[in-house]
Assembly symmetry: C2
Homo-oligomer: 526 residues x 2
């Protein structure tokens, strides 16, 4: 498949306007540009894609659940069929290793297929039915039924760090398409070729499955121009974003300032505290130090759930942990960062910590002069008192950088947790003798994080029904949902109640004899 550098709008593939600005992907290993050039979308492309999405919505939302499920599966099959073409382009654009990208491709297709299952089960519609009570006094009750309906066209922003699983056909796209919402994706400028390949796979699936044109479009452009234009468009009814705190907050502000504000699901910033409770630390300090650095340096630390903060009581066991972790950092193999911009931001973040008088350097990784965007892992340490007195130490440094915070007492661990902002994850390493302390900490962790893990590491997010990849501000802009797992479909739905609806007009999902066999709540009982 030859890359064309074209926007995908509905079923068309079209070059950008003459004179439009353009971008090329940069290979982060060599610093070289990768053909083709992608011209950036302007207002004309936004208008066209939004008009098609709006037109498609009325038809798409009414399709049988099975038709939408088949479309998602066809998209997954097409992405699978791209094979090495996709993996090799993604490697060149992101510097991520082949095995990681193959795993990510599997996860992406798995997500699409999971949402096909979600559609077939129909549980997500949350159908509730209550019978009429014509004899009730003083007032009879009419029949009532409730189901979830899709919000409308959705703008999805591809993420830099997951060029497949959080990008063109990533979790937000899969969840929105499943919900019955057309999707317009803004490709991340770091991997336009990967985006084009995946976009064509989705576009082809839409055509082959007879979906209405406009159910999917893919545009290239800058966040501040294309992104803002999409979020301002009155036809867009929700936004999915994974990226920086500044980027997410800017989109949120725009969405809130619209005449009709809309939901923004922005995943932004998290330092993912890891608590090493005393007995577990005492028993396993070295093994924990080693496992920690393996998680920290995985993917050059470019995970939203990267463990960036270690909390533990000071003492000999913590010193053993720090010593072993420091060794592991010094020994870590050099890795590439995704883009020159991310590399520069990492260097600045590390320098800020290095220059802080509140912080001391434990270890740094090998310098790697032959790569354009190398990630040199860093491990710093500080005290709880210094940490609580310096908000800058709470900021995420995107990359393989972490801070160990020594606490004087269990109470001080609690104080540090209470001082933290919202997080995607919080991790507790413990053994049985630590349970009493863990029990005291758990309510605090539940307030601060969307996922709480025990004796594991936060990198690695299972795609399943129970997953929450979300959390309080600023880890996300809306803690009430998840971006990973089947519950993500709820982002793009709202409930509608039907009162005394004639059976002849009821959609299949609400008909009295339940022809779709949906799980329903009837008169208050499931």
């Amino acid at each position: 498949m030859t890359l064309e550098g074209h926007h995908l709008i509905g079923f068309a593939s079209q070059a950008g306007a003459t004179g439009a600005q353009s971008i090329e992907a940069i290979n982060p290993a060599s610093g070289e540009a990768l053909a083709p050039r992608y011209s950036l979308a302007g207002q004309a492309e936004v208008e066209h894609a939004c008009r098609l999405a709006e037109d498609a919505f009325l038809a798409y939302r009414r399709l049988p659940l099975e038709a939408r499920a088949a479309f998602l599966e066809a998209a997954a099959d097409n992405i699978d069929a791209l094979g090495d073409t996709l993996t090799e382009r993604a490697m060149a654009e992101t510097g991520l290793p082949k095995a990681r990208l193959e795993g990510e491709r599997g996860r992406t297709c798995g997500q699409l297929r999971l949402f096909a299952e979600v559609l077939r089960s129909g549980d997500y519609l949350d159908v509730r039915v209550e019978d009429a009570l014509p004899e009730r006094t003083p007032m009879p009750r009419p029949s009532l039924a409730q189901q979830q309906v899709p919000l409308g066209p959705v703008a999805v922003f591809g993420a830099s760090n997951f060029p497949l699983a959080f990008s063109v056909a990533g979790g937000d796209t899969a969840a929105a398409l499943a919900a019955g919402c057309p999707v317009i994706v803004k490709a991340h400028s770091a991997h336009p070729g990967t985006s084009e390949l995946v976009g064509r796979a989705v576009q082809q699936a839409a055509q082959d499955c007879g979906m209405p044109e406009g159910v999917f479009s893919l545009l290239y452009g800058s966040g501040s121009e294309l992104g803002q234009a999409l979020v301002k468009d009155p036809r867009i009814q929700a936004v999915g974003f994974t990226g920086s705190r500044n980027g997410g907050t800017a989109l949120l502000r725009t969405a809130q300032a619209r005449p009709q504000p809309i939901p923004v699901y922005a995943e932004m910033s998290s330092i993912n505290p890891v608590l090493l409770l005393p007995q577990q630390l005492e028993a396993n300090a070295e093994a924990l130090g080693e496992a920690f650095v393996a998680s920290l340096t995985m993917g050059a630390g470019q995970f939203c759930t990267n463990p960036g903060l270690i909390l533990a009581l000071s003492g000999p066991a913590l010193e053993r942990f720090v010593d072993r972790a420091g060794e592991a950092v010094r020994e870590a193999s050099p890795q590439l960062m995704l883009t020159p911009g991310i590399h520069a931001a990492y260097q600045q973040g590390v320098a800020r910590l290095d220059e802080s008088s509140d912080v001391s350097l434990v270890a740094k990784g090998k310098a790697t002069g032959h790569l354009a965007c190398p990630c040199q892992p860093h491990l710093f340490r500080t005290t709880a008192t210094a940490f609580m007195g310096n908000d800058a130490l709470h900021d995420e440094v995107f990359g393989a950088c972490a801070l160990v915070v020594e606490c004087d007492s269990a109470e001080q661990i609690q104080q540090v947790l209470a001082a933290l902002e919202g997080q995607l994850t919080a991790t507790v390493h413990l053994e049985e003798a630590d349970y009493a302390l863990a029990d005291r900490l758990l309510p605090l962790l539940e307030r601060r994080a969307g996922r709480i893990l025990f004796n594991g590491w936060p990198t690695g997010v299972e795609v399943c029904h129970s997953m929450v990849h979300g959390g309080p501000w600023p880890s996300t802009s809306d803690s009430r949902t998840t971006s990973v797992g089947s519950a993500a479909i709820q982002r793009f739905l709202r409930p509608v109640c039907y009162q005394a609806m004639p059976e002849a007009l009821a959609p299949d999902s609400l008909k009295a004899d339940n022809p779709l066999g949906l799980p329903r709540q009837v008169n208050g009982k499931r």
Copy 2:
């Protein structure tokens, strides 16, 4: 019970600060002030109530579901026990008739008891469990579980038009307390005495049931000062509001501008379109006209779901409808409005329509010189073309005022629907011969409204599991939830995932043997 004019903060009852401004309720029939005076809360009272709420939260959220259920039931019992004391004070403060207030008291207590049932069933926790797959390749899966947890302290704003059911112990308070969130209520200044009575009933229930102090507080104050101070307080994690579009929007803006934005559930403005489809109108024009005016004038039109817009094809049948409705408006008994301010706004809204060259007056009700705040019902008419060309005609006039919009064709009905803002309700009057047209309109109605009714009238909102009292902007600020019915509990919850949690630390809701007997989704199956 003697009214004291005191703030209720935690378990205390305290006078306002010396020198604080104060208010008295006004009897809308006589214009006379009603003792006692209520001094307005300042920053000290907000600080005190928020501190107690925050302290209470950690204990309250961990209480057994049964303990919270018993508290809600005790509050309902105490409100019931107020009997005529409550009804009479509410009549004096609001001008609403006795039977209506007795019904509203029953509804309010019924809501509290419904949420007790919701707690006992535990369905709202949406527990999802997935077993560990230690043998899975390439990576084992840890065990995962998900449940909903409460957001934190909630600020609730009492509404003027439902002094019981949408006020101190109304739907938002009941839903938030059920969810595990402490509540701070800002009493509506139109019914401070009613608020105090209900507040004491809730406060007493909290004490009697051993709830942590601070689970409930009640403050008097102005929306622009007390309301803003509450919404700005970092301990407040969500807001429930029913009132004007300006009031709701102001709170939303404040909540969005916080360092940590929080959800605002504001119900604001709706004109509740009613479609009279041709065959039904032909068959029943006069009966529809009469029933329409009964709904329009109920409670002086002061319902969020008041039918303010009639859409129908022009022709003789519509003229028969309009004639009969006009007669009914002229014959309607005089009624009181809630407050001098609401009365003045109604007069202005009616005058704006009366002066518009796009609109003509069909009929107005009797003038009623002896009441301080009389509602004189008004019925206007216009054409679809004029309506679509004049946005001011789309604004809610709070009170018994409606506009009939004559359409040339079914297409024009669709155009008018497409031009409408979001609505709480949309109503269709139809008979079988109208089903084909209804089927074309239904997708539009689903996009515009939270509840769609057939052959009924939108006033009267059933408190049940299937109800949606909500809808797209500006009917509410968040279309994803409802303020009435059991699903309202979802406003105050967020999901948390627990990964590889030791059984000894798991809350009862997540223990392997399901000691609470909760409905759960296990490995993807309910």
